[in-house]
């Protein structure tokens, strides 16, 4: 008996010891997305940007609420209206041991627009720059033609690569690891595409030293599989816990969930520009003049939507009703805007006032594989609109088909999502509310073609106002006018959920990234 006890004690102890050793050394992350490349300048898409932050650093970092904080640059100050000075951190080395200097920054800025075959580049972040002036190895001045208040924000969008390692290298060289040499907290060991990426701790990292010697990132796109991997202990952390699994994971032993609101806005675009819109008819099926040109109709649509019900029932509580394009508290958001109250009677009254007492027919379009519960949200909205007299049909389709058609303006009312990388409001206003303008590059995703010259003018003025207080005030005015006009109908912000094994915690980030230096171990 004693012997048995002793044996089991030894076995237990060694198991626990083994477990705690494994905890101290390795961390396995089960993430929904896989990067398409390890070239940080090749493809501006979430999973690439997320993984690049394991290997590389940026001059300016964004904290978990997307506030700016020092990265490879210790400070930044405007020298005059068109010049920013960045003081670079000293004593930082790349993974190959070579020192980080101003030359690397200059090289990076010059490389960004010249990555061949890039399906979506970071050119937006550097296009305003006319000259990069090296004052000394740790000071640069960045010149632009027009005042650029967002320059530090732009520097928080891209990673710094090593001139020595990356000069003349292709995207393929980054993928193979040859050129993937950064200053970041982890070094790349291996990328087995589709299976895993293995990182090893950078012992000379300038920042906080992390407890994990090795991090393994495993792409697990299937929601059920990702949850199972966490429950079986194959991975230590997963992102994008599906709403349907929340309840049983909350009860599961050894699993902790953490929620974080995100900047992912789900909204409706309504065709508010053309007289003739493709998906609207009167109740008998005859063509009518586009009713959504009338702001009262747009307001009625917004009032008819029960955001609380969508958040609690369709999103299982993982959504926050939205009033503008970024959650409260972000730069350039208005404190005066509140989510539109559910008011079906008010919506009916507005419709009658606008000359549609019996409503009209419309089709709402949406993707069914892009956002959390996107198809269901479209269904719910259709029912809510039908209830106030706008007889709404639903047509959802895979994103591969949907976005092309939406951009070709084939729809009248569409469900879309928006997530800003910059973490401030001008990016949203410029893309969604500003008049579509090919020359100036604004309104790129303004698929409703809402247009208001006052909004345009205020936003453009903000973009050349370096005084941040004035800058933000202009943005707030612009967004208040745009939302007052119902340029878009905001529905909600998604809430992201991470699941971790006991002993680990992650507070989550509004940009949805899972970053190693923010995962807390014991």
């Amino acid at each position: 008996m004693k012997k048995k006890l002793l044996i089991s004690f030894v076995v237990m102890a060694s198991l626990m010891l083994g477990a705690s050793f494994a905890m101290a050394r390795d961390l396995t992350l089960g993430l929904k997305g896989e990067p398409t490349s390890l070239d940080p300048h090749f493809h501006n898409v979430t999973s690439n940007n997320e993984n690049s932050l394991f290997i590389f650093d940026r001059l300016v970092n964004q904290d978990y609420r997307q506030k700016l904080e020092p990265g490879l640059a210790e400070s930044w100050t405007p020298v005059n209206d068109t010049t920013w000075e960045f003081k670079l951190r000293k004593g930082v080395t790349f993974h190959d041991g070579s020192p980080f200097t101003a030359e690397d920054v200059k090289f990076t800025i010059e490389r960004i627009p010249n990555v061949p075959n890039s399906p979506s580049s970071f050119t937006f972040a550097v296009s305003a720059i006319t000259e990069v002036e090296i004052i000394d190895p740790h000071t640069i001045r960045v010149h632009s033609e027009k005042p650029s208040p967002l320059m530090p924000r732009n520097f928080a969008a891209f990673n710094i690569v090593s001139k020595k390692a990356a000069e003349g290298m292709t995207t393929e060289d980054f993928n193979s690891g040859k050129a993937a040499i950064g200053t970041g907290p982890y070094k790349l060991v291996e990328w087995a595409r589709g299976d895993k990426i293995v990182y090893e701790r950078n012992e000379n990292y300038w920042g906080k030293k992390l407890p994990w010697e090795k991090i393994i990132v495993r792409p697990i796109s299937n929601d059920g599989t990702r949850v199972a991997a966490l429950k079986s202990g194959d991975v230590d952390l997963i992102n994008f816990v599906p709403p349907a699994d929340m309840k049983h994971l909350e009860k599961a032993e050894g699993v902790t969930l953490s929620k974080s609101s995100s900047t992912r806005l789900i909204y409706l675009h309504l065709d508010s520009d053309r007289d003739d819109t493709p998906m609207v008819t009167d109740n008998d099926g005859n063509k009518i003049k586009n009713p959504m040109k009338d702001v009262r109709v747009r307001k009625a649509i917004s009032k008819a939507i029960n955001r609380e019900a969508i958040a609690s029932r369709i999103m299982d509580g993982l959504a926050i009703p939205a009033a503008q394009m970024l959650p409260d508290g972000y730069e350039g958001t208005s404190p005066n805007l509140k989510p539109e109250k559910y008011d079906p009677a008010g919506a009916k009254a507005l419709l009658a006032e606008a000359g549609y007492p019996d409503g009209f027919r419309i089709t709402i379009h949406g993707p069914n594989d892009r956002y959390v519960n996107d198809g269901d949200i479209a269904q719910a909205i259709a029912q809510m609109l039908t209830k106030v007299g706008i007889k709404t049909e639903v047509n959802t389709m895979p994103k591969a088909v949907y976005f092309g058609k939406a951009s070709a303006l084939e729809f009248s009312l569409m469900l879309v999502g928006w997530a800003t990388d910059t973490g401030e409001h001008s990016n949203c206003i410029g893309s969604l509310l500003h008049t579509y303008d090919k020359e100036k590059g604004y309104g790129a995703s303004n698929r409703g073609r809402y247009s208001n010259p006052v909004v345009d003018q205020k936003m453009e003025e903000a973009l050349v106002t370096v005084d941040m207080e004035k800058h933000n005030k202009l943005l707030i005015e612009a967004v208040e006018i745009g939302m007052g006009d119902v340029g878009i109908v905001p529905i909600h912000y998604q809430v992201n959920v991470w699941g971790t094994k006991k002993g680990l915690s992650y507070h989550g980030r509004t940009d949805g990234y899972t970053l190693p230096y923010e995962i807390q171990g014991e």
Binding site: T123, D195, S232
Partner: protein, 324 residues
Amino acid sequence: MLAFLIRRITQSVIVLLVMSVLVFVGVFYIGNPIDILIAPDASPAEYARAVKELGLDLPLWEQYFIFLKGALHGNFGNSFVYNEPALKIILDRLPATLELAFTAMVMAIFVGIPLGLVAGIQHDNWIGRNIMRFSILGFSLPTFWVGLMLIIIFSVQLNWLPSGGRGETTEFLGMHLSFLTWKGLSYLILPATNLALFKTSLAIRLTRAGVQENLQMDYVKFARAKGLSNTRIIGVHVMKNIMIPVITVLGMELGNLIAFAVVTETIFAWPGMGKLVIDSIGVLDRPIIVAYLLITVTMFIFINLIVDVMYSILDPRVRLGDQR
């Protein structure tokens, strides 16, 4: 035999050509990949640049001919998403899929055929009936459900096997393979079982039907009359006859396993090409989709050819040269 081969190869080339046109046109009409690939806040100038760089501004026929010219030199174009040759990306993933498919096939053959034999010989008692019940389950349960059940039972509840991924691989003849180490093998068991289930049921049913049919035949009675042992009658004579339909069907099914292991690969996060092509369809990565489908067609043609040749070896009455 030679004339047969030449004719088959010419036919295959035509099939491939027609396929390539169909696939290319089909993929072209689904949508424009740039709308998904590009960041939504990209400026119109950036949009135009990306369209031009990826060659999407050219008319359809010109894109097709550029593709065809490349394809004749073995170059299916660069993936839009990965910016590496489409063929290379697919071939990188091929060993994982092949390994999974062959393991599943081996399981189906070594479990299915013996069970089918037993079920055929003992068709009127409980063993035979239970085997048949199992095969009905294997046929009718959806793959994704069985996959999730396997994960819940063997990974989450019992914690015996990993829930997904590929684990450790060993390099062998330039390919990374899992089944050479126990640790690697442990990752292979669940997905292979999941994939093998349907094929096992198929093998059981085919074998059982063949056994029952053949046992009624005169040659069996004759052999019995001659005093041959039951083992020899079934093991040699009956087996030889029932293997023909089994090989044909399983041969075709092997193609299916390789080409359409998609569901299993997705559930088990297995990094094979089925998962790759699903991801690629999601973002309309045209070069990968086109190359993948053409590789699949080539593979089916090739498997068909092998099946026909094996057929003629098993049954000398089948003469390949005479087929029209």
